[in-house]
Amino acid sequence: MPDGQLPVLDVRDLKTVFRTRRGEVHAVNSVSFDLKPGELLGVVGESGSGKSVTMMSLIGLLPSPPAEVRDGQVLFGDKDLLKADDDTLRSIRGARIGFVFQDPMTSLNPVFTVGYQLMEPLRKHMGLGKKAARARAQELLELVGIPDAGRRLKDYPHQFSGGMRQRVMIAIALACDPEVLIADEPTTALDVTIQAQILELVKELRQKLGMAIVWITHDLGVIAGIADRVMVMYGGQIVEHAPVKELFGNPQHPYTRALLGTVPAMHGTREARLRVIEGQPPVLDAPPAACPFRARCTHSFDRCERENPQRVPVGPLHDAACFWNPETGGPRDA
């Protein structure tokens, strides 16, 4: 992937908290990453690790209250999205940053036709007339591989299968040729065969349209198939970040390593017993003063209890937030 290019999206030190009746939930803690044009950044991590919240914080989609973006910068081009006013954000959402959500069954409005929902951003952001918008909508549906697109524009979401709905969601996200596409677990609700269809589609579209993509999932297999770079999140933080091959080939953070170990293989030898990550995910009720993974970590030592490790480079384009060095099996020197 092109290296020297300027990132389209540069997130620095993002912090998001939720205010609830039982106190604050620190869902995202100092998350920084960037996204280069045309790149596909995979984000993995277990449920509740803050993947969605991070992405939704970027473009102000979190409900506020209870959510509050505390800190950080989100540079999109030359604008800081966190400081932008609502109008600016609205002109970016859907137009320059597209979003695909996890659940295709509920993400579409059940009472509007698919065509209407697809044409909405086209007319708003691209100022297309009705006719032009319809033509473009049909084009988009064809692009995502829905047969008989012209007729199906008039259908309602419930007349589409899950896979087709997810494709419609993708079409909506792509409608205005965004520079960035954020896909939040877009295939989790789908079957493997349908998932394979969608993944294939995304690969194809990426080649055709060349946009930057953030792909959230907790399925490592999916990431392995399509990502260029991967971010691993745990407890509201990025714990490891590397190009895809490097990550799978040389995982540095104990969580990543454990995660890779839990998935049974499709080929080769069968382990007699699956490896598990014991314990519970952390409680995010305070800004972390220690490593969030320490309680479940097989390699933790006293420093992990005292300090929250920062991301340090551990290889080419590879960084991890851990005090433990897998190569040496001992602590990593700062």
Binding site: S91, V111, P121
Partner: protein, 335 residues
């Protein structure tokens, strides 16, 4: 949808026949006598004669069948006659009110305009007020507007119209002298001035009725909006860059209206009968007042016919509500 409607209509026939029978038997059992209003000075033999003249001597089932025949065959024929000038029902005995000795349907037709004017307008006004209140209360849940709205609507819900009605009369008619306290049913709207007069006399009953209806519908609206505001598609709409107006007023409202529209439709039958007290207070003399005077005068044919008309309307609007549900919500398929 069509077969669903047809099936429900077919099912409605036995239901309605059963309802009519139940109503008839109920009224048959009810105590009271159409002669109650005849002064005590009238001797009993005379009363007995008058009773016979009303057909009270005949056995129950004959009277029921007669009523059924008159209601389902002769009255529709009369309607046709009235509309097309035909003579189908010439000379046939219609459902006759014991009290006024005139055809029940004619009186009902006479009462409809004021009921529709007052109660209908109140309903429309109430709905028009309730929806924005409900929408905004939900959108700003727990804001002062929401809290105040809850408070006012609950108070509105708990104030019986015999009180609020007299209260507005005392304020606006007696003390301020702005509006007439008694509704003039003979008033005809012909030009602007008479329209203004009509508005003046409608304003208080409409206010009182609308308060109650608004209270209820705005609660429904709020609850429904709250349900929908949390849905995923709202987030999708925002992610598309739609303005809050579009998000709330197009996406959420449209979905929230689905259950509310059916609630509204189900409330319509009450237009025809539910405003009894308000009608009494303002002397609107609509259908509700007709029912209550008929009950007081033991005017069985009138009570029977009116309650049955309400039953028909209830069944009909139940059906309409279901159909509306199906039309508004593309996910619902009746079949």
């Amino acid at each position: 949808m069509l077969t669903f409607t047809i099936r429900r209509l077919l099912l409605a026939i036995p239901t309605l026949l059963l309802i009519s029978l139940v109503i008839f038997l109920l009224l048959e059992l009810a105590p009271g006598d159409p002669m109650a209003q005849v002064p005590l000075t009238v001797p009993p033999e005379v009363k007995e004669k008058m009773r016979q003249a009303l057909g009270l001597g005949e056995p129950v089932h004959i009277r029921y069948l007669k009523w059924i025949w008159q209601f389902f065959v002769i009255e529709p024929m009369n309607l046709i006659d009235a509309m097309f000038g035909t003579m189908l029902a010439e000379g046939q005995l219609r459902v006759i009110s014991w009290q006024t000795r005139s055809p029940v349907m004619d009186i009902v037709a006479q009462r409809l305009p004021q009921t529709l004017w007052v109660v209908g307008v109140a309903y429309v006004v109430a709905v028009l007020i309730a929806i924005p209140i409900g929408v905004y209360s939900a959108y700003r849940q727990y804001s002062w507007f929401d809290q105040a709205g809850t408070f006012v609507t609950m108070v509105g819900f708990s104030v019986p119209p015999f009180f609020s009605g007299v209260l507005v009369i005392v304020i606006f008619s007696v003390n301020l002298g702005w509006f007439p306290s008694i509704y003039d049913t003979t008033h005809r709207v012909t030009d602007w001035d008479s329209f203004v007069v009509q508005l003046q006399q409608m304003i208080m009953p409409v206010m009182v009725l609308a308060l109650q209806i608004t209270s209820q519908i705005s609660r429904f609206m709020r609850a429904s909006m709250l349900d929908n505001l949390g849905q995923d598609y709202v987030r999708t709409a925002r992610a598309k860059g739609m303005t809050e107006n579009v998000v709330v007023l197009m996406h959420v409202l449209r979905n929230s209206m689905i259950p509310v529209v059916t609630v509204i439709a189900l409330g319509i039958p009450s237009i025809f009968g539910g405003a009894i007290i308000t009608e009494q207070v303002f002397k609107v003399n609509g259908i509700g007042q007709l029912l209550i005077t008929a009950i007081q005068a033991n005017d069985m044919p009138m009570v029977q016919t009116l309650t049955f008309i309400f039953a028909v309307l209830i069944v009909l609007f139940n059906l309409i509500a279901d159909v509306l549900y199906g039309i508004l919500d593309p996910r619902i398929r009746y079949d």
